[in-house]
Symmetry: D3
Subunit: 255 residues, 6 copies
């Protein structure tokens, strides 16, 4: 039987007992961001949380509170933060949240922490938050912290299998085949394939422009079409990701 691993649903006494065995703490990080007409605003937080919970089962880890306050959607990876439906937090806020979680988990006695990121734009700010937390903790017991984005664990084999016509890159995957397939695998009730707008992938230049030129983002808000998404692909992706992250954490944190 699988016991509860998400600490928001655990009581403090049970939590304190579990952490005496030095489990890894997984912190999902997402965003609230438009993902086209066929998926909900919470995609990034839902996927990172679900993956963290599945990895947690594999390695007997815990899952910390999901960070939902993602950095601003950028046009080349999320369509842009001018779109109504996306919420963009300033760098200082995202940094502050990650910094606090590391500091607080260190106070609780956790020794190994992993951030499971599900929103492309967050990564550098999570990094800064962790770095500042470790500076804060100097002279005290410092946990080992791993930082990763889940799509970096899809293997080359999976990519070439799922994208026979060539892989367009993770950035234009916003609202596309990968995210939609994963949502179909994990949260099928929240996906409406009939509402997918089958538009050509965004042809984005190799630079950002601010203020954003809204015409560069497809009308759907997605950077590529989700039409080819399916639950089967989702299962393959999910398996690749969850086992990849599981192995990475096991390997690094020698469990």
């Amino acid at each position: 039987m699988t016991h509860e691993r998400n600490i928001t649903r655990l009581d403090a006494f049970t939590y304190r007992k579990i952490i005496q065995d030095d489990p890894v703490m997984l912190i999902p990080v997402g965003a609230i961001e438009q993902h086209g007409p066929h998926m909900p605003l919470g995609v990034d937080m839902m996927l990172s949380t679900k993956m963290a919970e599945l990895v947690a089962e594999n390695i007997n880890a815990l899952v910390g509170p999901t960070i939902t306050t993602g950095y601003k959607s950028q046009q080349r990876s999320g369509g842009g933060n001018h779109i109504i439906g996306s919420f963009g937090f300033d760098a200082a806020t995202v940094i502050g949240i990650c910094r606090t979680f590391v500091r607080e988990f260190a106070r609780h006695g956790l020794k190994r922490i992993a951030f499971i990121n599900g929103h492309y734009e967050n990564y550098q700010f999570i990094y800064e938050g962790v770095d500042l937390a470790l500076r804060d903790l100097r002279g005290q017991s410092i946990p080992d912290v791993m930082l990763l984005s889940y799509w970096d664990f899809v293997t080359e084999e999976v990519i070439s299998g799922l994208y026979p016509d060539g892989f367009p890159g993770w950035d234009v995957e916003h609202g596309g085949v990968m995210e939609t397939s994963l949502m179909l695998e994990y949260f099928p009730d929240l996906v409406h394939m009939d509402r997918v707008m089958d538009l050509p992938a965004a042809a984005l230049p190799p630079y950002d422009l601010l203020p954003v030129d809204p015409t560069l983002t497809p009308e759907s808000g997605c950077l590529s079409s989700a039409k080819a998404a399916s639950a089967e692909k989702g299962a393959i992706l999910a398996d690749s990701i969850v086992s990849g992250i599981t192995d990475a954490i096991r390997g690094r944190f020698t469990m």
Copy 2:
């Protein structure tokens, strides 16, 4: 039939359509904080989210993303932030999050926003966040923002009915009869009444001490006993709160 009101589960196209009718946006604010051996760490975020969703049904409102990053637990209202299981965010971070939500919802075109607070310690920092957001928005369209803590809507009649021996005050209610009864009403599976520690209410002085004197917090982490909690009391409290908040928002935002 009740449609979805929590925007994290809505897609952006539907969201944009709904907000053209100028609904009120309710933002639940909670914390991740120990609540004794009988309730989970997520009590404050769960209760505020649930209440917001129920109020939303009454007034055809939307519910925004729940803010889970609460200010530090203070001894006189939450047992203290030295306790393992509580997560305390700095003022700057809590302020930054609330400030962003107001600014982003204003960008989306929302005209009426209400923060539904479920963690005593948060209030002043929500206030500062909203105040700074309105300063940021000067010269633009400024939404009306209401700020409230849910327990302020329990009526005197309900209090005297539920606490025949006298009401100890909302602050020592941490993990006590009110919160536990509400959890029994809304999330009975997450409450373990058999684990309640039936200790005397905390005898806290009329001041704070930092560093905290841990001996002043009962061993349970709760400031009063939850033994007298029940789903029935929870229903009465819930009804009082939800209808109170509903009336307040209706009255102020004339709907």
Copy 3:
């Protein structure tokens, strides 16, 4: 004969000599805020300073520089910061000042500090300032810091004696009977009872609204009428407060 206890009027050599005996340091915190037509803007800083000086005599303590830069006046406790005559500092500034005082007094070698707050809105920001200072001081000698608001030391007996028709609560006391009576006791020259506007107490809802709805604050800027104020009541209140704080500090700091 009473010697000087306010360190702003002591020279550094005398100060250094006195603190070798490990006195408690009392830090008054106030605000510059409108208090109706009958009392000056400096009420909060004057009262907290005066009370600190009287407590200091009782326990042979010192009084530090008065913090006059209070947090924004809020409508339900001070009428609102939209009123001309009130000065509202951002949270970050109030926090920074309190943080510095704790850090600097710790550097001086003080071991016991008490903040005597006289402005309702300040409390949480003083708390954050102290908490951050103690974090700054980790690894060094950390003083014990007490935080209190003076009205929390008025006893139930005094309240029921002074408010025979029922006590309206400390928040609506802004510019009302308590503050005015205390000013009559301590600074009678600065009170003009003939200018009191005898308006009904403000009927404020159990929430805040931003931007403030100015019509909710009585024209006087006071939340209840000061008409029943008197020097006699002031003496009773003052005695209750000063002896209450004296006892609390003595009890906690075992002197």
Copy 4:
């Protein structure tokens, strides 16, 4: 008869009436800092406040709340912030306070503000605070703000008269003849000439060193001897300063 000009002792109704005539608002800025064995810690705040009040009488101005939270004492102008008895605020805090006062006085409708600085180290941080406030106010009504340090208004004639052997410079005047004479003029009860330590002026190099080399500061904490101070010199200095500032404000703010 001279009416009250310090707004902390004025009520809000009177304040609002006076400012309809567009008076200049003078804001004294000081510090809490050691000034040797013969003068109190509050010298800088006392002198700047007193001078502001005297200038205010001349030009029918108001005096705002005194800013007492000065920047860190620096060795070449105040002996250094390592000395017990001095309180050093971070730049961010000093800036925040000045920024708020400008912003709040602008909200009140003031059109002309002058900062009267009495603590050498403060100047650049007052400047930054004012500059940021004017940025905040862009698009609104912006007051004219004058910034000055009082010693810059002592005339050459006065200097050569009072220092027949050559003027050592304002920086080493810390706790020396000028400050002590001014205190003798304005607050004789707080000066103890019998406690003056008649040491040679500090021989400070043309650079700062951090951490401070404490041996460079005379044992007195004063950078030059106050032995030659007198109330007569104080009167001459005071007259030169107050009339100089009066003329400067009149000239600039054409009154």
Copy 5:
């Protein structure tokens, strides 16, 4: 004849005259970071400045002051900021610098700005700085700002020509063939090919670890070997980059 385009070497009168014609302003961004035993710490600032100057000639643009204060070196793109010789600025500082440049150039009247980034880790912080500057400028004239990293302009053809055995990715290029070849092209005197350490490319995992595991960075501090670098490759790369950026800016800013 080529006239001066770097504004640090232009006088203000000439600068003011030139900007009346609305030139594009290019801002090079680099870092001070170890680049192995064969290249200087200033590689990133030197390359971005040189490229900006060459692009400026093509499009008659100006080059602004080079930003040398780069974000912390990260292990997967720069070896890690634990290495002696690298300087890592906090996110807040990098953001503050970029924010100011946009705000100040906007004050000067510039309408089109492009950041030319030469340090992988900087990008997100430049983005945040620009985004905040545009928020600051709301209600004023807002320039169009382009953000790019120079390696994104190396064409696929160039890559496959220069890396016949397969391209390892830009991140492990730190101190490798590309950077070294570019330095050989532009600053040959500062490259010591005889000191290149010909080590295997770093085998870095798809995640970061903090504190860094120093054993993952090759002893050289470079993530791949520069042995195959040459001035010829440098010329090809340089040509691809400079013409790519030139075309991109021309295309976007229609000149």
Copy 6:
């Protein structure tokens, strides 16, 4: 033969070898600021860098990266930051940069650091940056840091020799005889004496005014005329400054 001393042109391996001998690290600080029609915007950064390099030769020191992001030009020392061609960084940014350099050089193992300032307005912010860095480093190895502005090392003899008609003060020297002569000595190609505007020295009042009154700054942007500048004077000044700083660092850091 003189070897390279500017670490931006040194490789990391050489740098690490040199610093094992505990050299002094000199950090030049300048600004990008208008200096009239006859000198480039980079004067302050060029002069401080050049002087640092010359001092470094004398004492076998290293020169760190030049800080070019100076604080806002102030009217009484730089003409004012309203002038197009000057770039003014906020206090927080200047402080952050200096703080990082001290912290990073301390991490590298440097024990003695000197800031060589060439922009009048920077000084207090460099001071704050250093002070905060030393606070950050508490509990670790703390370097000795010297802070100086180069003009404080011009001797009285040199001044009276170069200014036979009386020295107007360093502040109005902005773009005047001293800076121009030094530029003629070090960077003659960047000075255009034929473009000097020979205007009377600015008659600036003993206070600042914000917003700036632009009429108080001469049309040239210089606060006094550079007409009397010459390479000969530059050589005398340069010699006085470089030997003065050399002696000061030698004396303090006993080398």
